[in-house]
């Protein structure tokens, strides 16, 4: 599934060619077909995707280049593609704590799902401006679609659930105003453990640009893999959005993350 196909608004299913001698196609092989169900365009441009354990797909809207195809009032709406019907529809509209506007055209920017607890975390930066961080991280129970908790005044993009060095479940979140990644424990009931917030690392000064923000966060064993990109609360789009993958390793002695490599 892709939300970044040129000339395709919304979400697309990309079929890659399977080369002779290979058991499966991969992202490096040419695209054979791009499929879009008619409903997949209706929300305008979309950004991050996540999946639940039933195979349903969740996506969040984010304007690209212009506001022509995204309605401001829908920028805090999570969309779901039903695993059985393939149809996309509004899944939940999260409350606005500030409205997107001319100085910040964005609402939702991050989404992730925890399969074990069926908790979804969604981050919105709606209403934030240069001097006021008004973003919210919503924790939702996927079964009931209810908001179980919120963290206010946090503008975030990359989100990921993972266990920390002590086995506690944390939500890791990349800030959009700085290159910092923070984390906070999430209880089994899907609520924040408020005094557990901590700074994990910063991307400041690293990579070819030096001012990257964490767009995606993934974990692989003791590694945190961060996709970093520029983000300045505008609709700037270049032909290729330069992105750098940073790999950090947890250093048990120092109790901190160390940069292993970036590419």
């Amino acid at each position: 599934m892709s939300t970044s196909e040129k000339k395709a608004i919304g979400i697309s299913l990309v079929v890659f060619e399977k080369k002779a001698g290979e058991t499966a196609p991969n992202l490096q092989t040419p695209k054979q077909e791009i499929y879009q169900h008619p409903s997949w365009k209706e929300a305008g441009y979309l950004s991050t995707i996540t999946f639940d354990r039933e195979g349903n797909v969740y996506a969040i809207p984010a304007p690209l280049i212009s506001m022509l195809y995204n309605k401001t009032e829908k920028l805090n709406t999570v969309y779901q593609i039903d695993a059985k019907t393939g149809e996309m529809s509004e899944w939940v509209s999260l409350p606005f704590y500030g409205k997107p506007g001319v100085t910040n055209p964005f609402g939702l920017l991050g989404i992730t799902y925890d399969c074990l607890q069926q908790t979804m975390a969604v981050g919105s930066v709606a209403g934030s401006d240069r001097y006021n961080e008004r973003g919210v991280i919503y924790l939702l129970d996927v079964r009931s679609k209810k908001i179980t908790d919120t963290l206010r005044n946090a503008d975030v993009m990359g989100l990921s659930f993972a266990l920390d060095e002590k086995g506690n479940k944390r939500l890791y979140f990349g800030k959009t105003r700085t290159g910092e990644i923070y984390s906070m424990q999430v209880s089994k009931s899907g609520k924040w453990i408020r005094n557990s917030k901590r700074k994990e690392l910063t991307l400041e000064g690293y990579g070819p640009r030096g001012d990257d923000k964490a767009r995606k966060i993934k974990f692989n064993g003791n590694q945190m893999i961060v996709s970093g990109t520029a983000f300045n609360y505008n609709l700037q789009a270049s032909s290729e959005k330069p992105e750098t993958i940073y790999t950090f390793i947890w250093l048990p002695k120092e109790q901190k993350w160390g940069l292993n490599q970036y590419q």
């Binding site: 000339k7 609709l235 700037q236």
Partner: protein, 590 residues
């Protein structure tokens, strides 16, 4: 570069934020003290004459580069440490075809500017699996390619005299040698901007590199993709970062930070964005010159807006701004973009201002006849394919004429693109009337409407198509672009819309979101939405004049238009622009 005929634009002042007493910020003043100064664009010279270097150390550096580019291998060797071993290591590396792969332009074979920054004993992590060598015989050679912003690291075996491994790293920069540290310090110490910021010329006290290694690595010139370092001057609990571009050998800008700040890194992009936002997006500035007075503000999505424009005591414009850029490609149905231009951060702009507006005199012959205010906008990877740059230029003449213009500076996604910028121009006065020239004289538009400038369009004997009467005593004649302005423009082929300016509802007075799609080739560019099904009267009322020129790009040699490309010069790549300016001239008629 398109030269504007007889008009020579002379820079009045640099880009010091507070240098010109005529420019006064007057509202939305923040209490925040100015902590940064962004000096100039790295694309200087793009549409204005380049400045000649006079500092002896820069002249010497350029001479050195010039000489090295004439060598068979355009590489400055590292001679600072390591003696004969280091020289041998470099010779071994430079005799290997893979290590030297990027010394020359891959297509033209022209020499690129390269420098070996360091030669060190190889570290365990440098030695790839399977490489066997006698202890202490492996050396690491680090070379930087200024043109490609690329680092090449080679591991050589001094005993076998062979290169055992090499890797090329795009967008990476090695630690710089002592000679470049000194050059950066010299550039910073001799910059008048540094002296002004510190309050003294730092001749005795040397710049303090805040922890030499990290301070040098932790600044970036993200936009120019140049090699930049930041000599840092400590003053009490504050540090003055002087960002120095070692590819262009110049100071990029200055920024004060608190020395205790955790992880605060000053980079070119941050410096540019914050300076432009602080001084031009959040402040209305005023310019008063040659009888003209106006406010100007960089908007979130409508480009540079000029407002409250008056000539002498006569109010002329309420506002003029650039609402959208529509770019369509004829080869593919519906393919193109609607770009808003505006502030670099916290905006709806897709192509952003990275440099402050520029105000310059217009000189004809040896006389100053007026002034220009210009704002440029850039995509990050411009002039790479599918990236964009635009310019807005407003000209004001001593005789009361003025011209509102803009240009695409390429490069876009192909050579079959048409650019349609949308100007919104609101004249002052609420007893306005509008006329077009017809064979039998001036004919009034009694209702809102639109019209396309075509080959069959009729002009009065002096080339005017329209007349806007702003008061019983004053009218402005409108001359659309027909290639007569000597700025390279080939004619506007413009859609003109006339709408009533409703004082009780916002039809574009405030920042407009994108008002039209990319790819309509007819009059549906957005302003027609304000005409509606029942056009209103345009007699003796407030009016808005919308102007949408159409410029078709061209990449053919000799006729490049709305285009930009890189070219080779002195071992690095530079940018050449072919802007396509369009926009009408307004001439007062009393």
């Amino acid at each position: 570069m398109q030269k504007p005929g007889l008009i020579i634009l002379t820079m009045l002042f640099g880009f010091f934020l507070s240098a010109d007493a005529q420019i006064k910020s007057k509202k939305n003043q923040k209490s925040k003290p100015q902590s940064s100064v962004y000096l100039n664009e790295y694309r200087k010279g793009l549409m204005s004459p380049p400045v000649k270097d006079t500092q002896s150390f820069i002249v010497a550096r350029k001479k050195e580069i010039e000489n090295i580019l004439k060598d068979s291998l355009p590489v400055k060797l590292f001679r600072e440490k390591g003696g004969e071993q280091a020289m041998l290591a470099q010779k071994i590396a430079l005799s290997d075809a893979f290590f030297t792969r990027y010394l020359f332009d891959l297509k033209t074979r022209k020499p690129l500017w390269n420098e070996i920054f360091g030669v060190y004993p190889a570290r365990p992590g440098d030695i790839k699996k399977g490489i066997k060598a006698l202890p202490g015989t492996l050396m690491r050679v680090e070379m930087y390619n200024y043109a490609n912003n690329l680092t090449t690291i080679g591991i050589v075996d001094l005993f076998t005299q062979k290169l055992v491994s090499a890797d090329h790293y795009p967008d990476m920069q090695p630690d710089i040698p002592q000679s470049l540290i000194q050059l950066a310090e010299q550039i910073a110490m001799n910059a008048p901007e540094v002296e002004k910021a510190l309050g003294y010329k730092p001749t005795i006290q040397k710049p303090v590199m805040t922890s030499t290694k990290t301070a040098l690595n932790r600044t970036k010139c993200e936009r120019s993709q140049h090699l930049c370092v930041a000599p840092t001057f400590i003053q009490g609990n504050r540090a003055l970062w002087a960002i120095v571009d070692l590819t262009d050998n110049r100071l990029v800008g200055l920024r004060w930070t608190n020395t205790g700040e955790d992880g605060a890194v000053v980079t070119e992009r941050k410096l540019q964005n914050e300076t432009v936002a602080d001084c031009y997006c959040e402040k209305v500035n005023t310019v008063e010159k040659h009888g003209w007075k106006m406010d100007y503000l960089l908007t979130a999505s409508d480009g540079l807006e000029i407002s409250n424009v008056q000539f002498g005591k006569q109010k002329v414009l309420n506002s003029a701004k650039l609402v959208d850029w529509h770019v369509s490609y004829s080869g593919t149905d519906g393919f193109g973009y609607s770009d808003a231009v505006g502030c670099p951060i916290y905006s709806q702009a897709a192509v952003v201002a990275t440099d402050p507006p520029r105000i310059a005199d217009i000189v004809e012959g040896d006389s100053v006849v007026g002034f220009m205010i210009e704002q440029k906008f850039f995509s990050e990877l411009w002039p790479g394919p599918c990236n964009y740059s635009y310019s807005q230029r407003n000209f004001f003449y001593k005789d009361g004429r003025f011209r509102i213009t803009c240009a695409s500076i390429g490069r876009g996604c192909g050579n079959n693109g048409t650019y349609r910028p949308v100007f919104r121009i609101a004249f002052a006065g609420n007893q306005q009337n509008f006329y077009e020239y017809a064979s039998d004289g001036w004919k009034q538009w009694s209702k809102e409407g639109w019209q396309l400038q075509q080959p069959t369009t009729q002009y009065d004997p002096n080339g005017y198509q329209y007349k806007i009467q702003t008061s019983p005593l004053l009218s402005y004649l409108v001359a659309p672009g027909n290639g007569q302005f000597k700025d390279g423009g080939r004619g506007d082929n413009a859609f003109v819309y006339l709408t009533k300016n409703h004082l009780t509802k916002d039809e574009g007075t405030n920042d407009l979101v994108t008002i039209g799609p990319c790819c309509n080739t007819d009059h549906q560019q957005g302003p027609e939405k304000f005409i509606g099904a029942n056009p209103e009267s345009t007699v003796n009322t407030d009016l808005v004049f919308w102007y949408v020129p159409q410029m078709k790009n061209d990449d053919r040699p000799g006729s490049k238009y709305c285009w930009a490309e890189t070219y080779y010069e002195d071992g690095v790549y530079k940018i050449k622009a072919y802007p396509c300016f369009a926009g009408p001239m307004f001439v007062p008629q009393k």
